[in-house]
């Protein structure tokens, strides 16, 4: 014990905590954003799945700061607030997260357009999986168009949020 090098300074420790907490908080904020009644000003049927963007972004860039329990918490908050089947989006986000983490080497060092295409695929899997599970849950074939529309809207605004997350990540790297 006595041979251990000097531990991290309090500032560095705070940086580490920020690194673990802030992406998670950003994910929770994204969930809340989905419930802000934006449909009053823009014509959209269902708010984009902002939380999915957070899950995808951190799964690609830093899965170590956005661990599975963060994904679970984000999905569960979404389920609790939306009055839908409890655990539905938590499960779907976790599966998508697992898939993205396992394939992240394909996109992580590439240009942004590749990452964007990757997000398109992830959103498609997310939508179809959510639709299948919800159809099983309710015991009837639901319309898939609502969720596909939602996913398209999500893919369309992904660059904006990727940019914001990028800023957060850069800031955290400086801190950490």
């Amino acid at each position: 014990m006595s041979f251990e090098p000097i531990g991290p300074t309090p500032a560095a420790r705070a940086g580490k905590i920020a690194l673990l907490v802030l992406p998670f908080l950003a994910g929770l904020l994204c969930v809340l954003l989905s419930f802000v009644p934006l449909s009053q000003i823009i014509y959209i049927d269902v708010a984009p799945a902002f939380a999915l963007m957070a899950v995808y972004y951190w799964a690609v860039h830093r899965p170590d700061v956005f661990p599975p329990y963060a994904v679970f918490a984000v999905g569960l908050l979404y389920d609790l607030l939306s009055a839908g089947p409890l655990g539905l989006w938590a499960l779907v986000y976790l599966i998508v997260y697992g898939l993205v983490v396992s394939q992240r080497t394909l996109v992580v060092a590439q240009s942004f357009s590749v990452i964007w295409v990757g997000f398109f695929v992830a959103a498609l899997i997310n939508g179809v999986l959510g639709w299948l599970l919800a159809s099983f849950y309710f015991g009837q074939m639901l319309s898939i168009w609502g969720v596909l529309g939602q996913m398209l809207a999500t893919v369309a605004i992904f660059p904006v949020f990727a940019n914001l997350f990028q800023k957060l990540q850069d800031w955290l790297l400086v801190q950490g």
Partner: protein, 312 residues
Amino acid sequence: MIDQTNRPALPIRDVSGRVPLIFMVSLAAALLLLGRAETYVVDRARQVVTDLAAPLLEMASRPVAAVRRVVESTDQYAYVFDENERLRVENKQLIEWKERAIQLEARLARYEALLNVQVDPEISYVTGRVVGDSGGPFVETFIVNLGRRQGVESGQAVVDTQGLLGRIVATGVEASRILLLTDLNSRVPVVIESTQVRAILSGDNSSTPRLDFLPPGSEFQAGERVVTSGHGGLLPPGLPVGTVVEGEDGLYTVRTYSDRTKLDMVRVLQYLFPTEVDAQDPPPILEGTAEDAPGAVSAIPGSRATPTGDGT
């Protein structure tokens, strides 16, 4: 690259490896199966989370409402002339209607008094703002900033300026959840106003809910008004719901008057089933028969119904 330069990052990565992921996936799957039972715990958790999120959503929905008002007022400036013309014409028609309404109202009050009808109890209401969107593709619910503190209870009807929107399904202290008519789980007893044909309005997550359980051979046409029937005692009778639309496959759907894409302020109706309130006597107006109205009513034997009267 990060792994090589930043050694302490490694343990965190190990922790976030496969095992937690599998554990979390099984936990979510278990919740999905358990939640099917809609237990008390799940309901409580939802209410608590909704209550906690409501102030944040309320704050966030204020700028949205402000932007919306600006957009609407700009729209109004653009069409102010046309709108004025239209309103002039409409006002003329409405004045004629008003005359008729006053006449009919007087006549109706007279009939009610004569027959000692137990009129429907008056409905009080509270008005609140929609602060939370449905947020998911498979549910059609909204969060409104009214809760138990304002006297909101599960089952109460929610209307916007045009017609019935849905009903309250869960209440917290400061926020409640509205189940829209279009939600998969929504079932509302309705009648077609002109013919009094009864049906159940079933939501299916599409924008136009279905008319189910129509009696065989019932006759009505597309475009007729649908109102709540009041059967089951949950919703007050006669709330406007929408107009009948005939589908291509012989199914009838309803285009609701309420517009879920333009929701701002909504009213929660605090309706009591007629048996739960004291006798609702008709207004004592039989002007022609006596000097003072109450005397006139009591001229009809047994017309002063007691609160526990058998008229209900």
